[in-house]
């Protein structure tokens, strides 16, 4: 696709217009000719694709209820490739055309609902924003590691949600507003990245510590706590200490060993590890006891 800015004068046709044919008509004729050409090109392209351009997916399958899927296995799918196709597009194609029992979560397909985080070619990714063209073949698609598999690519998210809820992720005050609270631009900037979390669970799945310690709050929940701790609109000392007490418990911030895997896989580029370190510093500064 050409995304060049057109010159303001694109009237390159220098030939005299044939009498009786308006500019508009000529344009329409040109358009028709162009369309014909493009259709032919598309057809040729489709034929070529059918012949060779398909993408090989290796997809994890498991269903506790279906006899031949109780033993986990990988299925192969060959999906016709079109430019711009994402891993999610390919999965949907495979489901809609080859096997309607292929199961995975997805919804917004624009990287904001967070439901299609999976393990693609050995890394946690959001399928909807992962271009197939960037993946080596065969594209290996598995459910998020370290989580119970419900079926095929669907994992149980309950534990993740529990950890998110454990940090009391909400403003505590009960006041009835007459107007907005003030927040400086600097402060909004400070919390901005932390508020982008879409709860996809990629970070938690990539974290070795969380894999070994089921009670560890994990990067997403700690980031959520950061978002509230750092927000100047909730600035009562008592509340801040309350939040720190949650964070510096045995399975809180000190469990993080700064391996950066959460930061690496975050599809929203949230500097998770940094946020955890900052909260460790806050805990020290407040001179609260270690475990």
């Amino acid at each position: 696709m050409s995304t060049q800015v057109p010159e303001s004068e694109t009237e390159t046709e220098t030939e005299a217009e044939p009498a009786g044919e308006s500019h508009q008509e000529r344009r329409m004729a040109e358009k028709a000719a162009k369309r014909e050409y493009r259709d032919a090109e598309k057809k040729a392209e489709a034929e070529l694709r059918a012949a060779e351009e398909s993408v090989h997916l290796k997809v994890f399958r498991y269903d506790p209820e279906v006899e031949d899927k109780q033993e986990p296995r990988f299925d192969d799918f060959y999906v016709p490739y079109t430019k711009g196709m994402t891993v999610l597009d390919a999965l949907m194609y495979a489901r809609d055309h080859y096997d309607s029992s292929l199961t995975f979560r997805h919804s917004c397909r624009q990287a904001v609902c967070g439901s299609d985080a999976m393990f693609v070619n050995g890394r946690q990714r959001l399928c909807c924003k992962t271009q197939l063209s960037e993946m080596a073949e065969p594209v290996r698609i598995e459910p998020l590691p370290h989580q119970d598999v419900v079926k095929d690519l669907v994992v149980d998210m309950e534990h993740f949600y529990d950890q998110m809820h454990a940090v009391e992720p909400y403003f505590q005050s009960e006041d009835v507003p007459k107007e907005e609270q003030r927040q400086s631009r600097e402060n909004r900037e400070k919390i901005k990245m932390s508020t982008r979390c879409i709860w996809c669970g990629a970070c938690m799945s990539s974290c070795n510590i969380a894999a070994g310690d089921n009670e560890y709050l994990g990067p997403a929940a700690i980031n959520k706590a950061y978002r509230f701790y750092m927000d100047e609109r909730e600035d009562e000392e008592e509340l801040k200490e309350h939040r720190l007490r949650i964070l510096e418990q045995e399975h809180g911030v000190w469990r993080c060993q700064t391996q950066f895997s959460c930061t690496e896989v975050c599809p929203k580029d949230i500097p998770l590890t940094e946020h955890i370190q900052e909260l460790k510093r806050e805990a020290v500064k407040n001179n609260l006891k270690f475990w």
């Binding site: 696709m1 050409s2 995304t3 800015v5 057109p6 010159e7 303001s8 004068e9 694109t10 508009q24 344009r27 040109e30 358009k31 162009k34 493009r38 209820e65 279906v66 711009g84 809609d96 096997d99 309607s100 029992s101 199961t103 995975f104 997805h106 919804s107 917004c108 397909r109 624009q110 990287a111 904001v112 609902c113 967070g114 439901s115 924003k129 419900v150 079926k151 669907v154 992720p169 909400y170 403003f171 006041d175 507003p177 007459k178 107007e179 907005e180 003030r182 927040q183 400086s184 631009r185 909004r188 901005k192 508020t195 982008r196 879409i198 709860w199 509230f228 927000d231 609109r233 909730e234």
Partner: protein
């Protein structure tokens, strides 16, 4: 059987706000959602929330702009309620922690949006919906409101008196997606439908895959009329490859549109000589398609949206999300290149007919958010008016369902009051086919005595329905049916509409309904059976698509988003009225109710909409 005072179906913006309001009113509330609340499509909203917060602006101006934008098809009591309640609601969510963009003095920022006479759109970058959704979900967590996530609601449990206005809703039937368990949920005080839009009826849409019109279809089959469904908003700036939305905020900040000849066509071709790119969405969408049809588009498909001149600092500050979307989904660097855009289905202005308290004509049944038509958007929704609708009418529905006093509603509902019936000849009989009514409760049979029995009867009906779908070994799959439906809707019921195309769509929908008689579920598992869920969703899409098409065929005028080839003028003498389609036990009836133009202090006189 589960039991709560108020049951909210849907965990998006309207559902969460309704649940909070009902809980504040003292009710025991539960949210039942087929996703998890944070996965809801409200999270994809980008632009902002309109509210008159500042000196120089007031609710009356907001109401006026909204009425004008609606092309005088909004109801004044609803529009004025929206404009009056929005500021308080915005302050409320700010206090709940919403990370709004800020001015130097720390107050929330506002920016200009299309069709607004004052820059009254508050926003949080270009990801306002994401922050709104998460902020409200946090409050739901704080209050300990029970959430049944990944429970798919299949139908309503409604009594079956002859006329819908005599019926009562006593609950819902849902199944646990993870286990396949089908269960009844009894609602002592009310059921609130907040299930979002039906964008999946079209194949190029900004809507999530989950937006399958479930609430519309359930209410419709229970007997609530669908109002003004022909008014489908097409957003002028969606990415051509995927339908991903590029916020109106880009144009609000000064982004420009140009065609393949390099012309800033909104001005140069006279589509909107004053407001240019910031004319309302219907105007810009038609302008873009007219350019493409005249051969001045790129690749015969799209135009360009350019924001480079805004400068990196401003773009990153206010539109950063747009850079990511353009990069991830179109491979375009918005700082260096213009973005390809074309119109895509975006929002259903019509919906479940409700009054300004969110109440439908069925006792105990409410609707809020996109799925409802309180009638604030009329024939065309202004950018930035969807999010205040969610919170204002979500809150009102929640309060009212829980027994709060909001005063007498001025908007009438159902087949009563000042209505007239339509006599357009239809090319095919719309509505029910054969025996599969999708377990509609309202079948004119014996009236069940108590609430438990109504819910239990519906649970049985849904169990049978699922058993039938699962037992079939062959037939047609939902994916084929859905694709056929999307194809005819996109071809015939799009931005530009012609009589013959609309009739063709109705004939196609009839065939699609017949094909649906043979639908089957291939996946034999009860565990997380998305095949089953999508099969049921597809039935809902068929019903919704038919109401859209019926409305579009009978409305022989050009108003707001509804353009008709054969009728190129707004006909106020004839058409200052709402289109209503009642399911009528599978034999749809079309009728009309006059638009209410009398507001609190004034009457809104229809004027020409110029931008």
């Amino acid at each position: 059987m589960y039991e709560h005072d108020v049951i909210v179906v849907g965990g998006g913006g309207a559902g969460l706000r309704a649940a909070i309001a009902a809980q504040e009113e003292g009710a025991d509330v539960a949210i039942v959602t087929k996703l998890h609340p944070v996965r809801s499509h409200t999270g994809a909203a980008e632009g902002g929330i309109n509210a008159a917060l500042r000196e120089g602006d007031d609710w009356e101006l907001h109401a006026y702009d909204t009425m004008k934008g609606s092309d005088y098809l909004g109801d004044a009591p609803a529009i004025e309620t929206l404009a009056q309640d929005a500021p308080e609601e915005v302050f409320q969510i700010e206090h709940w922690g919403m990370p709004f963009s800020r001015e130097e003095d720390g107050r929330v920022s506002q920016r200009p949006f299309g069709g607004l006479s004052f820059p009254r759109t508050t926003y949080a970058g270009a990801e306002t919906g994401h922050h709104l959704l998460h902020t409200m979900y946090e409050q739901v967590v704080k209050r300990g409101i029970q959430v049944y996530d990944e429970w798919y609601v299949m139908d309503l449990a409604v009594t079956d008196e002859e006329t819908p206005e005599d019926r009562s809703c006593h609950g819902i039937v849902a199944y646990d997606v993870q286990s396949g368990e089908i269960a009844g949920f009894k609602a002592n005080d009310g059921v609130i439908l907040a299930t979002g839009g039906p964008g999946q009826a079209f194949d190029h849409t900004t809507n999530a895959v989950a937006c399958t019109g479930d609430g519309y279809a359930m209410a419709y089959r229970a007997g609530v009329p669908m109002e003004d469904m022909e008014f489908v908003q097409f957003h002028p700036t969606t990415l051509p490859s995927t339908g991903v939305l590029i916020s109106e905020g880009v144009r609000g900040e000064g982004g420009i549109l140009y065609n393949a000849d390099g012309e800033r066509f909104m001005f140069e071709h006279g589509y909107a000589n004053n407001d240019g790119e910031l004319a309302s969405r219907d105007v810009v969408s038609r302008a873009e398609l007219t350019e493409v049809n005249a051969g001045r588009g790129f690749e015969d498909e799209y135009v360009m949206l350019d924001m480079r001149h805004l400068g990196e600092e401003r773009i990153v500050d206010r539109l950063e999300n747009i850079l990511h979307l353009a990069e991830d989904f179109e491979g375009v660097d918005g700082l260096k290149e213009p973005m390809p855009v074309k119109p895509g289905q975006h929002y259903e202005m019509g919906g479940i007919e409700t009054d300004e308290n969110g109440h439908t004509c069925i006792d105990g049944l409410y609707a809020a958010g996109e799925t409802a038509c309180v009638s604030v958007h009329g024939a065309n929704r202004l950018g930035g008016n969807a999010l205040p609708e969610l919170i204002v009418f979500g809150a009102r529905a929640g309060t009212h369902a829980a027994g709060g006093d909001l005063g007498e509603a001025q908007i009438e509902t159902g087949e009563r009051g000042d209505i007239e019936y339509d006599d357009t000849e239809l090319p095919y009989q719309p509505g029910e086919v054969g025996m599969d009514t999708g377990g509609v409760a309202a079948d004119g049979g014996a009236v069940a005595a108590d609430a438990d029995a109504v819910v239990e009867r519906e649970v049985e009906a849904q169990r049978e329905r699922v058993a039938t779908l699962m037992e079939r070994d062959e037939g047609v799959q939902h994916s084929q049916i859905r694709a056929d439906l999307q194809k005819t809707m996109t071809k015939n019921v799009n931005v530009f509409r012609e009589e013959e195309g609309l009739k063709q769509a109705l004939r196609d929908i009839r065939e699609i309904r017949e094909a649906y008689q043979d639908v089957y579920v291939d996946d034999p598992s009860r565990t997380f059976n998305t095949d089953l869920q999508q099969t049921i969703e597809t039935r809902n899409l068929i019903d919704v698509a038919e109401t859209i098409t019926l409305g579009a065929l009978v409305r022989t005028e050009f108003r707001g988003a509804h353009w008709r080839a054969e009728h190129q003028e707004r006909k106020d003498d004839e058409w200052l009225k709402h289109t209503l389609v009642g399911w009528n036990d599978g034999d749809p009836t079309i009728f009309y109710r006059p638009t209410i133009l009398e507001g609190e202090n004034k009457t809104y006189e229809p004027k020409e909409r110029s931008y």
